[in-house]
């Protein structure tokens, strides 16, 4: 395979990751993200009460055995906080993975075909992009029976064109290069060229975009829960908790404070990661060392 050494060197994802990890912001971001993932794994195990258990008078503080008091239904705030991150994190990870995969495939296909297929894909993207992300997700989730799969599909659908456009843009310059032309001339199949020639050369933008989309997926999924469209409305969920407890914020602030802090910390963590990655990528693009 004919690959110019310069391309080999700059676009390797491991290289991008390693360089990004030398930046303090990426280190902090990744640390925060790992800590939050740890919380959502360990949290449900160490939670003293179940997520829907009635333990005492609603909206009370100073209850022995309940660190942060009870929420509007008399459930343990601390337990619901410990449990309430898992579904957000799992759903947003799955939605990001699905949306990024489909978006990458369609973006590469569009860049490689450059004809009616390209035009068709881009117009479909335009239609989906005519909706603010939360609006499309809200429309889909509210019209059908809420389920985790539906939430993932709804968020992935609104993620796909955003990733697809970026990947198409990055791949357009790659498909013009000698090694892709050579592979085409050698009669390699389109799918093979797509995955083994073009994809390895757009992993940089892909990684940056995926990390950015992860932040927005968390925001969209938490916002859906805030609007009352969590897959399970009674289950503990940081977004649901903020909505439920914000009316009684004056007498029992913890029910809203804890999830507000949790979502803020989580999204700042993922935001720091993607900022570190995009800085390195931009640095490489300019020919610098990305430091």
């Amino acid at each position: 395979m004919i690959t110019s050494p310069e391309v080999e060197q700059i676009e390797k994802p491991s290289g991008l990751l390693r360089t990004a990890l030398r930046l303090k912001r990426t280190q902090i971001g990744l640390g925060v993200l790992i800590a939050m993932i740890g919380l959502t794994i360990v949290g449900p195990i160490i939670a003293p009460h179940s997520q829907t258990e009635f333990i005492d008078m609603p909206n009370s503080l100073n209850i022995p055995g309940a660190l942060f008091g009870t929420d509007y239904l008399g459930q343990d705030v601390w337990s619901r906080f410990l449990i309430g991150g898992r579904s957000i994190l799992l759903l947003s990870m799955s939605a990001t993975l699905l949306g990024t995969t489909v978006g990458t495939f369609l973006g590469l296909l569009a860049a490689l075909t450059k004809n009616k297929t390209d035009e068709f894909i881009m117009r479909i993207f335009d239609v989906i992009l005519s909706f603010p992300q939360i609006l499309l997700a809200l429309l889909l989730v509210s019209m059908f029976n809420a389920s985790p799969i539906l939430t993932i599909l709804a968020v992935a659908l609104s993620t796909t064109p955003r990733v697809g456009r970026i990947i198409r843009g990055a791949a357009l310059s790659v498909v013009e290069r000698d090694f892709v032309q050579a592979a085409t001339a050698l009669g390699e199949s389109r799918i093979r060229i797509l995955f083994s020639e073009v994809l390895p050369n757009v992993t940089g933008p892909l990684l940056v975009e995926a990390s950015l989309r992860f932040t927005y997926s968390i925001a969209t999924i938490a916002s859906l829960a805030f609007l009352g469209f969590a897959p399970d409305p009674t289950a503990a969920n940081w977004g649901t908790m903020i909505q439920e407890n914000s009316a009684v914020i004056v007498i029992q602030p913890w029910g809203a404070v804890l999830p507000v802090i949790a979502i803020a910390v989580l999204t700042i963590g993922t935001g720091l990661c993607s900022d570190g990655l995009s800085r390195v990528l931009a640095g490489i693009d300019r020919g610098g060392k990305g430091e």
Partner: protein, 319 residues
């Protein structure tokens, strides 16, 4: 006139997109759900009630007929009536459009000058303390979801910490939003904080590019004062890419504010949509989504046209 041709072509494309958007909305709300009537009435209902609603919705007609009559009614200006209140939708929506417009204008009036100033100043002070601080702050603001930021502001400014502002807007849909100014401070602040990072980042990047460009160098070499170089040469050219981002953010302010309006109980189109979705008020959901998407498409169109007009290089390359 190549510019008119460009605008006409872009307008045609915009109309096509809106048509496709209306198809998508119809499919999602009316054609794909196995039974919209069931979805509206919920599980505890009688077959008679279901049948009556299906008749009223015209669900026994073929999907194509349902779609075309819905779209033609809207094009004729008849947007139907709400299922829940039985009121004409126009009466329900009209005052809310005004309220959202007010929120959007006030939000834009603060966020656009602030973000352009912050972005341009960060570019001039590149990698100095001001630039580093604003870049960290905007990173945080861009990452945190609006409802989390808004709830944080409520906690900070309307409850125990500093009790200076009301947590929700206490105005009715028909009332002028400026009749309760203290009530709109928090929603506006949340919107400004949500929008500013995007515009200021674009402005910063664009300004840096301009400052490094040949003709800014040239202007300096000609001996122009730094002030003239910045105000007359760098700044106007740096604004081109910023239009795009501003238009997208105006679109966001116009329609994507479902969350912020809901959080602060502000009676605009965003909270109207959130209410309609909860009440499964199908005509309201369909029209409001179409309207918001329409604003989005329109803003994108304006952004493209403004960018071309503002960028001499693009303007002259039009064929």
């Amino acid at each position: 006139m190549p510019i008119l041709k460009f605008i006409a072509r872009r307008l045609g494309l915009g109309l096509l997109t809106i048509f496709a958007v209306s198809v998508l909305i119809f499919l999602v709300t009316q054609a794909f759900p196995s039974d919209p009537a069931q979805a509206i009435l919920g599980r505890e209902t009688t077959p008679e009630a279901l049948d009556a609603l299906r008749q009223e919705l015209g669900l026994y007609r073929p999907a194509i007929t349902q779609f075309s009559s819905w779209l033609f009614d809207i094009v004729r200006g008849d947007i139907g009536k709400s299922f829940v209140t039985q009121m004409p939708l126009s009466e329900y929506i009209a005052p809310r459009v005004g309220n959202s417009l007010f929120l959007m204008v006030v939000g834009a009036a603060f966020s656009i000058p602030i973000s352009i100033a912050v972005g341009a100043f960060s570019a001039l002070r590149r990698d100095k303390t001001f630039d580093k601080t604003t870049s960290t702050v905007s990173l945080v603001l861009a990452a945190v979801p609006e409802f989390v930021m808004g709830t944080g502001l409520i906690l900070l400014l309307s409850t125990s910490v500093f009790h200076v502002l009301p947590a929700i807007t206490l105005i009715d849909a028909g009332q002028a939003p400026w009749s309760d100014l203290s009530g709109i401070v928090l929603p506006v602040l949340t919107l400004v904080l949500a929008v500013t990072p995007y515009v200021s980042r674009t402005m910063r990047a664009s300004m840096i590019e301009m400052l490094e460009s040949d003709y800014v160098e040239m202007a300096r070499l000609k001996g122009m004062s730094e002030r003239t170089v910045l105000v007359r040469h760098a700044l106007p050219n740096a604004l081109g890419p910023v239009f795009q981002v501003i238009a997208l953010n105006l679109a966001y302010l116009a329609g994507g504010t479902v969350i912020v309006e809901r959080l602060f109980n502000f009676p605009g189109i965003g909270s109207a949509l959130a209410d309609s979705v909860r009440a499964r008020d199908l005509p309201a959901i369909q029209f409001l989504t179409l309207m918001i998407a329409g604003v989005y498409v329109l803003m994108n169109l304006l952004a493209d046209v403004a960018t071309v007009i503002a960028t001499p290089r693009l303007r002259t390359s039009l064929k």
